[in-house]
Symmetry: D2
Subunit: 391 residues, 4 copies
């Protein structure tokens, strides 16, 4: 990418503060790298850990200008600085997302939040309302929507190349919780803690990604679900699988399956969308291939910046075809799109419409509603349960 | 394969009669080729079509010694010949499977039948009882169990290499009914005819294959289902998709998805089985690869006759590793195994236990029960419905 | 396949005799299975082994009507029978191919011979002349040309869809000789014996397949080579690798690489052909996928009987798309095409032109010339060496 | 990555100046992104274009603190600043690499240079000598060595897991020059200009990558070549393909094939290395999979941070297994390793030995020697030509 739309719009990079993502956090390093890749942000402040000492030490070790001991302190202090942070990125455990998002929005920060937006629908709607009230930008890092070929899929559906959507399959299969000896005791990691992890860890952690990807690619809503959620590993305290049949808003049908207990699997997020004209297939582990199967024509292998790439996908690739981009770049695409939106808001200009495809607070709330619907169906002998959220 | 166990046992090939599979039938040619590949059978008689004239003409054109005008005539006549057929293979439309199987068994023929065994559980159990009563061999051509790598999967599970089974995914996704203009009128092809096609065409046609493959690989039964069956193509008279959550007999959970309406898809039957020690992945369209993902070890690519092949898989391959075998050979493996069983029965010797893994009448009845359970769940708002059949 | 062109033309199947391929032979079982698959032949006679006792015993065990003690006895006796064999298939070690082919042709048999046609160019040209003189059919089992997608590649090139051919890569990489302890002593298996194995075992065994596949797909001749042949495993008596640069008859360039000493490899025969309009890629180990990469368009996955299949490929598939066919079926396609040619010759009618794409004696001689050219270049410090044979 | 070794060592990031890579340059954006990803560098100065006006404008638009009108001006000015650049990265056309590298080294900058190091062996050796004389760090961006799985391959070979290396295949096949209408006239782009592009564009551009990857993975040198280089597209002024047989320093043999004229290809760099114990296969377009084929064991799929990852590969991955990293991250690994080496040099401490696997000036000179050897062999009728460089 040869230009920097944020500098073009604002005359400078956005100033970013990060909350959470301290030592040993997979996602913290990921967020910070994503923010650096396209040079739209300058990381100026951080509160990396809930432990004040570690928070200050680690922030210093990373060379951040203003490390803070705690998140609320950061928000208060930066809000008071003339050249304080513009944007706050939140990557704390799930049960604190709502608190920090609200505090950041109330102080006038644009927000980038890890998913899920909140652990309850009530909290999610709270954020939606605050975003609407303030007009601030809120980007939820359902990062798989940032992959060029996920965007190509969305663009092809939107352009009608797949026809009327009929059938959907989505799966997200991981192996991180396949071993059967879980942590126990007072000091549970939050991903094994039913309290901090939210109503369903497997749905909050990866189910919302799968659900959001369906919505992103198809442009449809999941209107009802019939499913089950539970744990397959004996004696586990949290859920580790969920499955559901889906009904989509246009009458399409779907299959949904997520688990973190599949031995030897890495990060297999796959989607297949069949319409009246073609089927699309994409898998996160081979992200540079989108298989398109038009009726009566040979199947095609679409690649980032390959022939037939739509603008929405093209702007998500930094290189010529054949040079793989991956997880970081997809994540960075959300950061960079959000940066354009934030810069445009601050400069009071219209953002590029192609930048406006990042998941937002409304998407987050719809995801929480979906989680609740699957849980309710599971508790109700698999009965079909409405998942629609009118907001 | 250097030897011919049937000749070794009986001193001659088995004499085979086929019923159905006339001109234009995909499956008829398939059965006859499968019967030829390993030279265990001599095709001596046929009644290929329900149209007597075509039946005789086509039988002659194929060089079969004794073509008949109709199936019941064949059964009666061959039963009366001293060197008449030993075995009858049935590949007529679904609604006549029961009639011909019963007639053949009653006349003392061993039977090879295309699936489903019957359209109703009542009829299926009828056959089960007749097989038990007569002691004849009954082989149901759930042919995907004949692939070497499906057998390797079964053998690895049986040997404990996968550990306790926890999670299963199976899908069978075809595109043959993706186009939205169906035949209409008085002369419906049977696959578009809700009367002859049975209670659910998609479940009878491909759902039973998927269900049987789960049972074959895991050695478990599906104990309950919560699902939906319907048609996604508007105005269609028959079903074209079905999805379900599965509960297995050991408490494992599963996802099941089948459709014939996915544009551009060919014949995507895939299974993933996760146990406490490893995950297995196999896809019919790339049948010579079985991916094994042990916990804490690199994933492996297992191939027919490659290192670590179990005897059950080894006997299902005719060539050294790297020389692909496919659909015909898998189908032939069922014919050849059944031939060994039949020859052993006729010679009153014990068959090779490794030959006894072909699907039988009981498997067929359990498949029909599964179909009925999915339909019942679908009619009952997705409620969990028992699928167990005690026989 | 619903019809039997041989029965249609001759009123009966062809009577086949096989020479070689006794117990433990991989290729013997392969040939006999290939002859059975499409029901064009009846195996009536055999001389399976150079050991007369084993030859008779094994022939009997396989249920062949007339087993013989030795090959020349078979040829003499069958030639004298009124309903003796029509066709002789030869699958003996390489150094006897010429002797049996000549003897068979001289007695009026049509011939199917395993490759290479002969170990020397002199012997190969001898056979070419005899075939021309007698007008008999001679089919050389370069079986990889029988795969549907290899034929689709040939048809696409012939139709101009690839444009002017510019670049070719072919490799054939096996691991059967990767272990470093070779047999020694008086009783060398012929594949380790430089005397019986011909001037270069690796080139005769698999190099001729690779060379023939290039010619089959492109319709071009290899006009010159610059290469090396040798053994990479220390102390080995026979060659185990060969590499060459190629110049094609239209000026295209190519890369050629074959080995049997690549640890852990199975049977990786791959070809890539780039023309001015598109590139084709095909690999024997995944034979149902032909990748087509047109300039400026998405890459395509072509499948047997999938959309856009040419007639030459369509007649090589027995099933609808998505049902994999493999090595046996490709091999059978050569047998079945040869059967059509033989039946047409015997009935004095014109064969279907689509049946006439099987490798013949001239192809065999050109292959031997290629082997000799690579060896000569290797002996001459890699100098460019003509490989053209004008016949 | 949770820590920043450069900040740990130096107390600050390295100050980076870039020369070349202006608007429209693919590689310029790549270098700058690679430098940002791991936060080891601060971009402080740039001279992006040979056009002074564009150079200044574009530098400003990217938000670089000190944009310069031209490269030599940058080098002089930064050398004179107290807190001027530490490191200069060079990404100009090939014919100026030598000039800027020498000028940078003479002024005391550590250097990161795009490949090839120079267009002639004389110039390359000049740089080697200067690096040795000054003790400065010189990193040549043969970026494919930065991929985790290329490093895993190197580590597995070094650990003896592949055994004694026997056979190598490397290919680099692109389609960027497949179209047959080249630019003409006075204003040739440098990649179509035989003067600025060096003695062989295809070898300089991608052949050196392929050659370097062989050396990187195997730890062997190419001792002799027999090959051809030329253009297959008629009337082209520069080379577009090259092929060669290789002899390696331990007696292993190899095949080398590179082209930029293969229609529809993207960026297919593939390597296969066979040793006495196993074969390795890696392809740049699916960089997260390393296939390992041990003799007598199932083939394995190795993944970044998957089981069995060696430390050299582990430090090249930023994320847990299953989250693909790509071209940028591989490129960044070279930048980050070089940063560690530079920081260690400046702090006068020993660098982490695992950081010292980036290509250096000596590697660059050996690459130029290889190019010259292939050209000489091609001019000499394919004669075997020494490629060894003793330095």
């Amino acid at each position: 990418m040869d230009s920097n739309p944020v500098i073009e719009t604002l005359g400078r990079r956005l100033r970013l503060a990060v909350v959470g993502g301290g030592p040993g956090s997979f996602i913290g390093s990921m967020h910070r790298t994503a923010a650096r890749i396209d040079d739209r942000y300058e990381l100026v402040a951080c509160a990396l850990s809930s432990d004040p000492t570690r928070s200050l030490e680690h922030g210093g070790a990373l060379g951040v200008a203003r490390p803070y001991a705690d998140a609320m302190g950061l928000l208060d202090a930066e809000a008071g600085l003339e050249t304080g942070a513009d944007v706050v990125a939140i990557m704390t455990p799930n049960d604190s997302h709502h608190r920090y998002s609200m505090a950041a929005l109330e102080r006038g920060f644009d927000v980038i939040s890890d998913k899920p937006i909140a652990n309850t629908l009530h909290d999610a709607l709270d954020i939606v309302a605050k975003v609407e009230e303030t007009g601030l930008v809120f980007c939820l890092t359902h990062n798989y929507t940032g992959y060029p070929m996920a965007r190509q899929a969305r663009a092809m559906v939107a352009a009608g190349e797949i026809g009327e959507i009929r059938l959907i399959q989505v799966e997200y299969v991981q192996g991180g919780k396949a071993r059967e000896a879980d942590p126990t005791g007072d000091d549970l990691p939050w991903r094994y803690d039913p309290v901090r992890g939210g109503p369903s860890l497997v749905l909050g952690d990866i189910g919302t990604h799968a659900h959001n990807l369906v919505r992103f690619v198809t442009g449809l809503e999941v209107s009802a679900v019939a499913g089950e959620v539970g744990h397959i590993v004996p004696n586990r305290l949290v859920d580790d699988y969920a499955g559901a049949q889906l009904r989509l808003s246009n009458g399409a049908r779907g299959s949904f399956w997520v688990t973190q207990a599949a031995a030897g699997m890495e990060n297999c997020l796959r989607i297949r969308v069949s319409g009246s004209a073609a089927t699309l297939e994409w898998s996160q582990e081979t992200p540079t291939r989108l298989i398109v199967r038009p009726i009566g024509m040979p199947a095609e292998i679409r690649t980032p910046n390959g022939p037939g790439t739509f603008p929405l996908a093209r702007r998500a690739s930094r290189i010529v075809a054949g040079h793989p981009e991956g997880f970081h770049e997809g994540f960075a695409n959300l950061y960079s799109d959000a940066a354009e939106a934030i810069a445009a808001r601050r400069a009071a200009v219209e953002p590029d419409p192609l930048a406006m495809h990042f998941p937002n607070a409304r998407d987050g709330a719809i995801g929480v509603k979906f989680v609740e619907a699957v849980i309710r169906s599971s508790e109700n002998d698999g009965a079909w349960t409405a998942a629609t959220l009118e907001i």
